[in-house]
Symmetry: C2
Subunit: 214 residues, 2 copies
């Protein structure tokens, strides 16, 4: 059965998944990189950057698991880029350059239609204006029996959680305080929605937590 998964979702101690004021210079919001300090040194991330070094510890294990059996992705529009509103042109092709790390179909949630964008390495961005459920349906079809990964951001994950559509979520809780930004938990009663933690593993500078829908 194809699952809808969240993986490697960096979270501050106070529940923020991104810093405030995202823009071109701050894809994760101001200060948001602090939630991903565990991820950047891993072999998995280094390989995404074209390198061949990196750590092979438990953090890398979780990073690697995040890409296993993933057949398609769903991203919120802010995860795709800093542009808001109507697309001014087709110049913006994501944060990741000519060859994004997805190597699969990626469904981008947006209110503004745009033609699909074929990138190098097997990634195609499809822009979905019909909402989260349609995006999920299309992603499942594209995934061909594999899982679908919600790449973020916070608002997108919250929408899927509130509809009880996420099966499994890996949170990487960093020991930092953000103070403000986009909060994953605020106003969401995950317990009432049927979610429970099933795994809790410390790694260097981070705590990995697995949350599943019962």
């Amino acid at each position: 059965m194809s699952k809808l998964r969240v993986q490697c979702f960096g979270l501050s101690l106070d529940g923020y998944g991104a810093g405030p004021n995202q823009d071109l210079e701050n894809p994760l919001g101001v200060g948001g990189h602090a939630m991903f300090q565990w991820f950047f040194p891993t072999r998995t991330f280094q390989a995404m950057q074209g390198g061949n070094g990196g750590t092979t510890d438990i953090n890398d294990e979780f990073a690697r698991r995040g890409f296993e059996n993933v057949g398609a992705w769903i991203l919120g529009r802010n995860m795709f880029g800093p542009i808001r509103g109507v697309w001014p042109d087709d110049q913006w092709k994501g944060w990741w350059g000519e060859e994004p790390p997805y190597h699969a179909s990626v469904f981008v949630l947006t209110h503004h239609a745009r033609a699909p964008l074929v990138m190098a390495g097997g990634t195609t961005f499809y822009f979905v204006t019909e909402g989260v459920e349609v995006a999920l349906q299309r992603a499942r079809e594209a995934a061909g029996g594999k899982d679908v990964r919600v790449g973020g951001g916070v608002s997108t994950v919250r929408q899927y959680l509130s509809k009880r559509l996420i099966d499994e979520m890996h949170l990487a809780v960093a020991p930092v305080l953000m103070g403000r930004g986009e909060n994953l938990f605020a106003g969401l009663d995950l317990t009432a929605l049927g979610y429970q933690t099933t795994e809790h593993t410390p790694g260097p500078g981070v705590t990995h937590v697995i949350v599943k829908r019962q």
Copy 2:
């Protein structure tokens, strides 16, 4: 210099320090005991119950540190008991029986005056109606140069944090979701208030985090 400290403050993954609907049967709110599973088996907690067993691991180390150099305590009224409003009589003497585990002066924040309550083992409860700053001043005087510990609950800790009066806070983050209850972080920008994490130590079933004011 006498510090104002929070210690052994159990927190759920989603930021709750207590469950909802506290009452006589649920001193920590419904489900709130889940945040303290790390604490109950420790030698420190067992000794508080009159036992002489218990674990002596890193969790016990943090539990033990929580009582070191503490000269006085401050508690919110709900931490003292489930009674709200005017005291109906002097029957309620706290959750802890005749010999509470404080062995020091304990200042209870309340809107309703009550005579001090002398208990066995050196604990005296003083009821302070003049607010958190007066309670702190009186606790500092009683502590005689030692630190003052804020025992909780969530609302009391939040009041002292929002006034930047807490010097150091030990949070014990349990891998559980509460969904609702009293949230420590909601609406508090700890970063803007000058707080940062300085320590992050995994223990069995919990992550210990130290937060300090810069």
